[in-house]
């Protein structure tokens, strides 16, 4: 599959940037406005899904190799767990918001570990959702290949 028409390709390569930016915004401001790591992560993933639909798998594979993607997935999860452990190390207990007094209310840098957690979750969700869609599409291709043979 070599992707869709030129129009679609061109537009989606532009829109991609906007979507990614929007996703990052949702993630970063998750502690101030509606949204957060999960929603932002899904938006990030959807930008790549769009690219995949428009340009085909091989293109995306060059941009974001599968191995890197799965590493990002693990990294996000580990990072989130590590925030919890850091709470144990530096604060009073596991998942303690040990940075809660850092920064001022209603600013980007505020509310301690919450934005950090949002970033970790955003990374994790984005990577894993894209991964699963990618794998699903690969799998379908394989099985249809089997049929042709």
């Amino acid at each position: 599959m070599k992707g869709m028409t030129v129009i679609v390709k061109t537009i989606s390569s532009w829109v991609k940037v906007l979507i990614i930016l929007f996703g990052i915004y949702i993630i970063l401001f998750g502690h101030l406005t509606p949204g957060g790591g999960f929603a932002g992560g899904v938006i990030l993933a959807s930008s790549y899904v769009m690219l995949m639909l428009a340009f085909g798998r091989e293109f995306v594979q060059k941009d974001l190799p599968l191995s890197l993607d799965s590493k990002l997935d693990c990294l996000g999860a580990v990072a989130f767990a590590m925030i919890a452990v850091l709470g144990y190390v530096f604060g009073k207990s596991f998942f303690d918001n040990f940075l809660s007094q850092f920064g001022r209310h209603l600013r980007l840098i505020s509310s301690g570990t919450i934005p950090l957690s949002n970033i970790a979750i955003g990374l994790k969700v984005g990577a894993s959702l894209f991964l699963v869609i990618f794998i699903l599409s690969t799998f379908r291709r394989d099985s249809s290949d089997d049929k042709q043979e």
Partner: protein, 183 residues
């Protein structure tokens, strides 16, 4: 607002019935999408924008997957008749559960007003009143899911992680080594 709410509910119900009953897979998938968007609008009515956003983005992504899966299949129609006996049994069972349900839903409390609540309900009140002070997050939802109940969120992230690992494992190409490969 109330009327809109019920209209939406009716819309979701109709879409759900069509999704189950139609024999065209693509229509079914589209109806499921409609349900999802309806639900996200309902969340908005209930003043839960966080959940609405999440619902909508997940719905979009889910719909893309489903439609792709549907249109790339040769078979887009469900064939075969339904078994009469099975239908009768299901209808009877559903009816009886419905009977029980009537009694149960009678007792369901007003929205946000638990019947069994103690005079002073510490958790939700504290979340709303002192959430910002205690966690520094302006978005109460964020303060709940990432601080008060961050452990749950870790669990949910793990659920996602588990399902991804599970999917990659189940969809891998070769599952067993040939006999000779073992040692």
């Amino acid at each position: 607002m109330n009327i809109m709410f019920y209209v939406l509910l009716l819309f979701i119900l109709i879409a759900a019935v069509i999704a189950v009953e139609t024999k065209n897979l693509l229509s079914s998938v589209i109806c499921i999408g409609a349900i999802g968007f309806g639900v996200s609008i309902m969340f908005l009515f209930l003043r839960a924008p966080d959940i609405a956003i999440t619902q909508i983005v997940v719905e979009v992504l889910g719909l893309i997957i489903l439609i792709r899966a549907t249109i790339s299949r040769d078979l887009t129609f469900i064939s075969g008749d339904k078994e009469f006996f099975g239908t009768v049994v299901s209808v009877v069972i559903i009816f009886m559960i419905f009977l029980v349900g009537i009694r149960v839903f009678d007792t369901i409390p007003e929205f946000g007003q638990p019947t069994f609540a103690q005079a002073h309900n510490p958790a939700s009140e504290t979340y709303i009143e002192d959430g910002l002070e205690k966690t520094g997050a302006a978005n109460i939802i964020a303060s709940i899911i990432l601080d008060f109940r961050a452990y749950d969120t870790l669990g949910e992230a793990t659920v996602l992680f588990t399902s991804i690992i599970g999917a990659t494992v189940i969809l891998r190409r070769k599952s067993r080594k040939a006999l000779g490969e073992l040692e």
